[in-house]
Amino acid sequence: MDVELKIQRFDPERDSAPHWETYRVPVEPMDRVLDVLTRAKELLDGSITFRRSCAHGVCGSDALLINGRNRLACKVRVEQLGKSISVAPLPGLPVVKDLVVDMDEFFGKYRSVLPFLVADEPEGAGERLQSQEQRDVYDDTTKCILCAACTSSCPSFWAQPEYVGPAAIVNAHRFIFDSRDQGADERLEILSNEDGVWRCRTTFNCVDACPRGINITKAILEVSSAIGSRG
């Protein structure tokens, strides 16, 4: 079987604007889009450029705009898409080349929310205790692989790239609700801001896009109410 693979191409050393190119690529029924891209690169055009690594949805390298929606190329199978596949870089992020976007800004926002345990009491001896119930509170947001599918699917981010974005909030949530953490106040202050949680319009594109099935909007609203109850 063949599919028609449309790729949005852009070479900053040659092109002034992105353009679409179409390839006919042979596929197997269980192929993922990543396999199809790889095959196109190997057989048809070695200059097709995209990131990938783990090939099974755990590293977050290959989030792309596939048939109009953000998803991981290695996690969507060809048979779910039909005979025509279109692939473009993540919307709203600066394009470096072809399907590769500049992630520095994204990781900068991630780093800005203090995404690490703040518990600076002196080195204790043993492990800290935490009940399974306390752990369950933030379980969902520990799953994030920083793929940027959510942030770049968010209309609020499209409108205002200064928005810290769902991914950063998810990672702040992971610590704010960790019973061992003491940095919640500082994080809530960082997020209580026009470009912080208040820019979320409960659009749910992020949730639909998240390959890890994280209920991002819930996390954002939990952070909002934490700010609210802090006053």
Binding site: R14, S53, C54, A55, K97, G124, L129
Partner: protein, 593 residues
């Protein structure tokens, strides 16, 4: 034309360089930051994309949180699991230091699953036993089936907190030496990094360089490994006269998704999953009556092959079933959520109601760059070190895994030896002088890379890569023999010849993955050669290395680590040496479970 490649290389001076931001590299960087050593971490992927994040099952430490356990038991299991090729002093370090390492991870914020009284929960894992082999023990600390993900995230988070300097998407293309290559007594003095974003070269000088680049599973066709795992660190060191050790020991994990190799963690069996053959029988009864499905991986992979060869695969085909149905929805969804998802997405199988077809998949390199207990790279079998060069993680061979690694011990390895690497490098940085600047240090590698991207015509790298993956799969797989290995060595040599004419289509400077993949293929060819040559020379069966022509373990001749050096220029590798195994507490015994 690759203009950026030709531009003058940037110069960066630091005290320490860490290549790779997986678990091993990150912990080393953290330790260096704590000591205040100016450090650069170079990684060809964003740190959170490193393959440590794919590890699922857990990390073993004899915490004894749920039942009695002792580090000596862990040490014994590691040695026996490694078929007595494990260096016992290293296994002792591993088992002892696993305990504080896991506790420290918890204190850094890692979200472990918890026992009812709030401690780190532990579960069973293959080959980990109570009281020197009596039965399975609950030793593996875990966070659902995302333990590696949590370790990677937690260490990266701590590095951010400590202000570690990362060079994200810098591909290290060469190591620099001062005073000759490693076999001539030279000192490692830095690296050349290729900035993927714009194709420029950068020379970084340092007193201590750590290889933490992970494994090379991509040499095989069916593998659980990421595309990026091409043996970079091993090949780069090998090219500078560093030997590679125990390369013939490559682990095939029994439960990969049929055809594509994605891993379904041993945690599935740790929680109580069964393996069934075509007759619906738990065939491990015949091979390991005591531990059954929790026997070490090499044994299970071989057992699966035996079943398949005897026509007892599912419908006579080349796979068997992993069955978790009896565990019930709750256990499956709460303790094994990711692998459940993998089965659904990649196989269209619903593990709650159907058995999952599995087959062995190339998984883990027990061998690698030889090091001592302080992670200093060894130059020879006598134990002399290469000054300035360190290795930790899957790229290294300490050797704690011997001839076969136990499940979870790789993560322990990263933590324990990553940390040791950071500590030792800090000491070295404080007591040595900085290497001298040499103009044009990057010249050789620039020529090499320009040659790749300016050759007007030639072979496509993909063709060579496919041929290599095939020969490694068919000839250097679970079962091997003289004929298979001889022809593998020959074929790899032929492919190396073809590689001299490989051509890259993309000639640009910006994000040229075509060029980098071609380079990675070069690394793969080197480490595959080392693997096949070492395997051919080891005429016995031990751990993951099963020779059908030599089915018995031969302690008289082969209770030793293989070391292999690269041939000069394009010549095949012929120089081998053997380094004795360190035995402290446990005399080698037959390995039955």
């Amino acid at each position: 034309m690759s203009s950026a490649l030709q531009a003058e290389a940037g110069q960066i001076d630091v005290d320490a360089i860490v290549i790779g931001a997986g678990g091993a590299g990150l912990w080393a960087a953290l330790e260096l930051a704590r000591e205040g050593i100016p450090t650069a971490v170079l990684t060809k992927l964003y740190p959170t994309r490193s393959h440590t994040g794919a590890a699922q099952g857990g990390v073993c430490a004899a915490l004894g949180n749920v039942e009695e356990d002792h580090w000596e038991w862990h040490m014994f299991d590691t040695i026996k699991g490694g078929d007595y090729l494990t260096d016992q002093d290293a296994a002792e370090v591993l088992a002892r230091e696993a305990i504080p390492a896991v506790i420290e991870l918890e204190r850094m914020g890692l979200p472990f699953n918890r026992t009812p009284d709030g401690k780190i929960d532990q579960r069973r894992f293959g080959g980990h036993t109570r009281n020197y082999g009596e039965g399975p023990v609950r030793r593996s600390c875990y966070a659902a089936d995302r333990t590696g993900h949590m370790i990677l995230q937690t260490l990266y988070q701590q590095c951010i907190k400590a202000g570690v300097k990362f060079y994200d998407e810098y591909h290290v293309v060469d190591l620099l030496f001062e005073g000759g290559s490693a076999d001539q007594g030279g000192r490692c003095s830095g690296v050349v990094g290729y900035k993927i974003a714009d194709g420029s070269l950068h020379v970084l000088r340092a007193k201590a360089v750590l290889l933490a680049t992970g494994g090379y599973g991509r040499a095989w066709r069916v593998t659980s490994n990421a595309h990026s795992l091409a043996g970079d660190g091993m090949a780069l060191a090998w090219r500078h006269g560093v030997p590679l050790m125990d390369m013939e020991f490559y682990q095939f994990h029994p439960t990969g998704i049929v055809g594509i190799g994605i891993l379904l963690s041993e945690a599935a069996r740790g929680e109580g999953g069964y393996l069934l053959n075509g007759e619906g029988k738990r065939f491990m009864e015949t091979y390991a009556p005591k531990l059954m499905e929790l026997a070490p991986r090499d044994m299970i992979s071989r057992a699966m092959y035996q079943e398949i060869r005897a026509g007892r695969g599912i419908d006579g085909k080349d796979y068997v079933y992993l069955d978790v149905r009896h565990l019930g929805r709750k256990v499956i969804e709460e303790k094994l959520p990711d692998i459940t998802d993998f089965a659904r997405v990649y196989q269209g199988v619903e593990p709650i109601s159907e058995p999952v077809p599995v087959q062995p998949t190339a998984h883990y390199a027990m061998g690698g760059v030889p090091t001592n207990l302080e992670t200093e790279v060894l130059a020879n079998a006598a134990g002399g070190v290469v000054p300035g060069l360190f290795a930790a993680g899957e790229v290294a061979c300490v050797s704690v895994h011997g001839a076969n690694r136990l499940g979870t011990n790789s993560l322990v390895d990263l933590l324990v030896f990553g940390k040791r690497a950071g500590k030792r490098m800090a000491e070295i940085c404080k007591s040595t002088t900085a290497p001298k600047h040499v103009a044009g240090a990057e010249r050789a590698i620039r020529e090499e890379m320009l040659a790749l991207s300016t050759r007007p015509e030639g072979v496509r790298p993909a063709e060579i890569r496919r041929a290599l993956a095939d020969v490694m799969m068919e000839n250097v797989g679970v079962y091997r023999d003289e004929t298979l290995l001889t022809s593998a060595v020959k074929e790899i040599q032929r492919l190396k010849g073809e590689y001299q004419h490989v051509r890259v289509e993309d000639t640009g400077s910006v994000f040229n993955t075509d060029l980098l993949e071609a380079r990675e293929l070069g690394y793969l060819l080197d480490v595959s050669e080392a693997t096949a040559v070492s395997a051919l020379a080891r005429k016995e069966s031990r751990g993951a290395h099963s020779r059908e022509d030599y089915p018995e373990r031969d302690d008289a001749k082969f209770l030793a680590h293989t070391m292999v050096w690269r041939g000069a220029d394009q010549a095949p590798a012929t120089k081998l040496d053997y380094k004795p195994v360190t035995i402290t507490k446990f005399e080698p015994k037959p390995r039955v479970y």
